[in-house]
């Protein structure tokens, strides 16, 4: 789906942005504002050392809901382009997990759309994290915390 990518393996968010802009936004001189968020894996959650994580998703539904979130952002804000990239599969501490980006003529729309994409994704997109702890045990993350 346009503007949505799921990646099963490490990715460099800055290289993704370079590539996306070169392919889709080169010469776009109406563009004044780009807001970007990158979420990455911490080695600590709820006080426990975490050594790895597995990201499960619902193939089909996940892509569909990420595309719907992009559409909703395009309806709420005046955007030139928007992008969501999300990891699936096995993830290690410091790895980027998610990238959201919004391109607009003006900074208010870019900032707010980028944050909207993240909050909508966190609350609605079907992904589930299972953590591997330092002692080898595993546990599912139970819920996301609100971001506002």
């Amino acid at each position: 789906m346009d503007g949505v990518r799921l990646i099963d393996g490490p990715f460099d968010p800055w290289a993704e942005l370079q590539r996306h802009q070169a392919e889709r936004l080169a010469g776009e001189a109406g563009l004044g504002a780009t807001a970007v968020f990158v979420g990455s894996m911490r080695d600590l959650n709820e006080g426990d050392a975490v050594t790895a994580m597995t990201l499960e998703h619902y193939p089909g539904m996940t892509e569909k809901h990420l595309a719907a979130i992009l559409d909703e952002a395009r309806g709420r804000y005046t955007l030139i382009d928007a992008l969501i990239v999300h990891r699936v599969g096995r993830i290690l501490p410091t790895d980027p997990i998610v990238l959201t980006a919004a391109w607009s003529a003006h900074r208010k729309d870019a900032f707010e759309a980028c944050r909207f994409l993240m909050e909508a994704l966190k609350s609605r997109a079907p992904f589930w994290k299972k953590e591997t702890l330092a002692d080898g045990g595993e546990r599912w993350v139970e819920k996301n915390t609100p971001g506002y």
Partner: protein, 77 residues
């Protein structure tokens, strides 16, 4: 009619099942699909449901050929 019922993440592990095919004469609702696919297990309060990959309420009717999914709160991002 037939329904596919799918489970994800901790729910899949807890129930020990990934997908169940249901066949029946009447269609029923999302919560009836849960009851039949889990052999009558109680539905946890925080379970989310989807019909054909759209979020659905427990009393939403299901139709022949639908894919019904159950999963815990989402934790992506």
């Amino acid at each position: 009619m037939s329904l596919t019922v799918r489970f994800f993440a901790s729910l899949r592990e807890r129930l020990g099942r990934d997908a169940v095919e249901l066949t029946a004469t009447d269609a029923g609702t999302v919560s009836e699909a849960w009851a039949r696919a889990t052999d009558g297990a109680a539905m946890p309060a925080n379970v989310l449901a989807a019909v054909n990959q759209e979020y659905a309420a427990p009393d939403q009717p299901v139709s022949d050929g639908d894919e019904v999914a159950f999963f815990p709160p989402v934790t992506g991002g």
